[in-house]
Amino acid sequence: MNNNNNNNNNNPTTVAPRGSKLAFSRRNMLTAGAIAGGALMLGGKARAAESPSTPPDHNHGGAHPATHTPRSGEHFPPGEPGRDYTPVVVPNGWTLPYRIVDGVKVFHLVAEDVEHEFAPGLKANCWGYNASVHGPVIEAVEGDRVRIFVTNKLTAPTTVHWHGVLLPSGMDGVGGLTQRAILPDETFMYEFTLRQHGTLMYHSHHDEMTQMGMGMTGLFIIHPRNPQDPRPDRDFALMLHEWKIEVGASRPDPNEMTDFNTLTINAKCFPGTQPLIVKTGDRVRIRIGNLSAMDHHPIHLHGYYFILTETDGGVIPESARWPETSVLVPVGSTRTVEFVADNPGDWAMHCHMTHHVMNQMGHGIANMIGVQPGDLDARIRKLLPGYMTMGENGMGGMTEMGMSVPQNSIPMVGGVGPYDEITMGGMFTILKVRDEIANLNEDPGWYEPPPGTMSLPATKESLEQSGVRADGASAPRAPAAATKSWILPPPLRRAPGAPHHHGH
């Protein structure tokens, strides 16, 4: 929303950040007071000053710090939202506020039970942080020193691991390995200086399967201290997750290994997902983290191609970036994509694994496709008055039947869109791009395409004009040669006298 909407260039490849060689200006450095060792930090080492902005990624080609462990006090004054960065937008979520104490940003996470709503009609008893699932986004600036208190209000021990954050080993939060677990009612303190920027994460690292399965994850976003690229107008932060919640139950089953039935973006499944709202021409960044138990998610955006600019390892050199329409976000990774929203409309954005856009799908049911129930329904209704054959034409139409279903469950597919049923759920959301929009925090409603830009039933005139018959008879049919199976040529004739083996 800043003044840098240079919309004359809509090529996303050219508006992406120009690499990560970010320069710190002396202005940004702490000048006095806040850091006793300011001079020490500078210490005549220009590289040290650069180190927070320089990912330790060897592929990156940037300067490498002498050490990854800043000494106490080697940090910058706290970065300020607005001045130093444009805060991220967290659909269905929030950013954790902090206080500044002696130049240190102080955060407080509270691990606790949370009754979480996945979508209207489906709630479950999860574990999260600060009354939310997932935890709030922790947002800071490269060079900030952060102090994070973690209070455990669960009945189980826990820890918090700062996923991808460069920090001293003892701050890494791995239960048993780098610290003892935080027992119920205990509060631990983590403190470190942020020496990088990028989209990182945090999550429980004690009984990981259970605690992450119960929802204990969050995003940890570190903005560059001195960005070289134009700031995005809209910077979205999304966290992917997957759950198993039996239909009618109200507790995720963290023991599930394969049969996940609730796929979420920021812990919501469609239609509970809040759309991403942008103004035409906005520079859009979408950061996507994935802490699902077992699945990578190819997130696909309609209407655009985007440029993959960062991973949780840092900024990708411009020469190594590529455009695509589906970004695969592996488990335990983040991906950041950017594009200029120059194509107004309502654009689906979803995982392209089709089972990941279903809600509480019963994966064990009989395959009913193509079944002709005929008079069977009437016969079965004599035994079961509520019976009706379902699924013979697939899963569409399931949201509108109004049949009695288990309490605390949601239909397999989404909801009613502007024209019809949206036959997707789960990891599905909508990018809403509008020319005119007053409040980016308010749903602008459904997109109304200009006349002539929307698919409609073909008119008789248009059919005739194009020589197309409505019964399909005018369409080309696959030639037999195009669909026949290949037949291998006959075997070579056996050489005379060759030994004959049976059973080979």
């Binding site: 799908m361 064990g364 009989a366 009913m368 019976y387 039947m401």
Partner: protein, 475 residues
């Protein structure tokens, strides 16, 4: 042992014998009254009176409506010819009484002498009379009268036994009929499941193996239905025989359902005393003791044979039927009957006495067993009614919800229906078990013991399996 007696003495003995003619049907009124008091049923003895037609008409009227267990019993009591045959026991016993009151027919004898050596031919006429029988007549008569009383008890017992047999057979029949209806529903359910599988197979969605498994389930349920039908027919024929019905009378219709469970538990208090008081088995043994006592020349049998004396003091509430205390000072017959005969009579008396005590103990045990059997059958059936059936319904509803949410297949839904049917069958078996157990308790309280195996068995032996879905396992 023949003694020649003058004619005058013979005539005198004839007078002593008193009443000597048969009165058909004598004693039946006592039976009738006893039955009415014990079970409230009406009995009739076809003796060529106008009442015979009334009884027949009553049977016809009852058969027009939907039969209940009580009505089936009533029909049997009026129409079962085996019972009519039993009633003749009264006439037979009466005949013994009459016979005992008759002198043996005198033997007319004549001596014909030919004249030989001075003595002329002549005739010496005389009537020989078994004089001893004349003297023993009161004893014999007393014995026969006791036997007549015993016959009344036996006939009453036979009526009660028949009533019990009919009642329980009727419940068996009703339960079998309901079970057959259940089996029909199971066949419908397995048939629907098979047909659903067939349509999935037609669409190419399941394997032939899955279809065959569903079919196996259906065919099995048809076999089970056939067995249930055969059982129903078998039990219906038993009812026809018991009620004495044939021809068009066999078209009777029974009430469709076993009677509902009562609100109250079966009674618990004072049952032992009641059963002892009512017991025909004890009454019979007392009669036997009396007969033996009379055979041994005893005037009165022992009062302590009354079952009252056998139990705990708190149960001592019955009036002794016999008022004279025990005495072995039996009057010895003045005539020579021989020590062996006397000893045998005494032994039989002693036997009857001991058996009376044993039987009373057994009755007390049996009534406790019957009461506990009825109570547990009642609780079991009520538990099915109040807990299990609603739970099964809830499960079916929730399964339907899961089906609606497409979490499970139609096969699993139909399986849930079959599970519900199975619970329904178990419920029927439990209600059946209750009415059986209640009948047994009532039977003991009305004076007849039932075989011990009945009171100890558990209700609900009828198979209620409905099979698991074959296809469901593959989903």
């Amino acid at each position: 042992m023949r003694t020649k007696a003058p004619l005058a003495a013979i005539l005198a003995s004839s007078l002593l014998a008193g009443c000597s003619s048969m009165k058909p049907g004598l004693g039946f009124d006592d039976v009738k009254q006893s039955i009415a008091e014990r079970s409230g049923e009406q009995v009739h003895w076809n003796n060529g009176t106008p009442e015979d037609a009334q009884a027949k008409a009553a049977v016809a009227t009852i058969l027009e409506g939907e039969l209940t267990a009580d009505q089936a019993v009533q029909v049997a009591l009026l129409n079962n010819h085996e019972l009519q045959a039993v009633y003749e026991e009264l006439n037979l016993a009466q005949s013994d009484v009459v016979q005992a009151g008759l002198l043996k027919n005198p033997v007319f004898s004549g001596d014909f002498r030919f004249g030989v050596s001075g003595v002329g031919p002549g005739v010496d006429l005389g009537i020989a009379q078994d004089f001893l029988s004349l003297l023993a007549m009161p004893l014999k008569k007393g014995r026969a009268e006791a036997a007549f009383e015993a016959a009344k008890v036996r006939v009453t017992a036979a009526v009660l036994d028949t009533a019990f047999e009919v009642r329980t057979a009727f419940y068996d029949y009703q339960a079998a009929r309901q079970m057959r209806e259940m089996r029909e529903t199971v066949v419908e359910a397995t048939g629907a499941s098979y047909e659903l599988a067939g349509r999935l197979r037609d669409a190419g969605n399941i394997r032939e193996l899955d279809l065959s498994n569903e079919r196996a389930l259906k065919e099995q349920s048809k076999i089970e239905l056939a067995a249930a039908q055969a059982e129903e027919i078998h039990l219906r024929e038993r009812m026809n025989a018991l009620m004495g019905l044939w021809g068009s009378q066999t078209l009777w219709v029974a009430a469709a359902r076993l009677p509902a469970l009562p609100d109250q538990q079966p009674p618990q208090d004072g049952l032992e005393a009641k059963a002892i008081r009512a017991s025909l088995d004890l009454a019979l043994l007392r009669r036997e003791a009396e007969i033996a006592a009379r055979s041994a020349g005893m005037a009165k049998p022992f009062a302590w044979l009354d079952g009252t004396e056998i139990g705990a003091a708190s149960e001592r509430e019955l009036e002794g039927e016999w008022s004279v205390g025990p005495s072995l000072a039996v009057p010895i017959p003045i005539f020579d009957q021989g020590q062996a005969a006397l000893g045998a009579a005494q032994a039989r008396y002693k036997q009857a006495a001991e058996r009376t005590i044993a039987r009373a103990v057994e009755i007390r045990s049996r009534v406790r067993a019957a009461q506990s059997g009825a109570l547990s059958a009642f609780e079991r059936a009520r538990y099915y009614e109040k807990v299990i059936l609603p739970l099964r319904q809830k499960i079916l509803d929730e399964t339907q919800d899961q089906y609606n949410a497409m979490q499970i297949s139609g096969f699993q839904l139909l399986q849930a229906k079959r599970d519900q049917i199975a619970a329904g069958a178990e419920y029927i078996a439990s209600v059946h078990g209750y009415w059986q157990a209640k009948s047994e308790l009532d039977q003991i309280l009305s004076g007849r013991m039932t075989p011990f195996e009945r009171t100890t068995r558990t209700a609900g032996a009828i198979s209620t399996s409905t099979g698991a879905s074959a296809t469901g396992e593959h989903q």
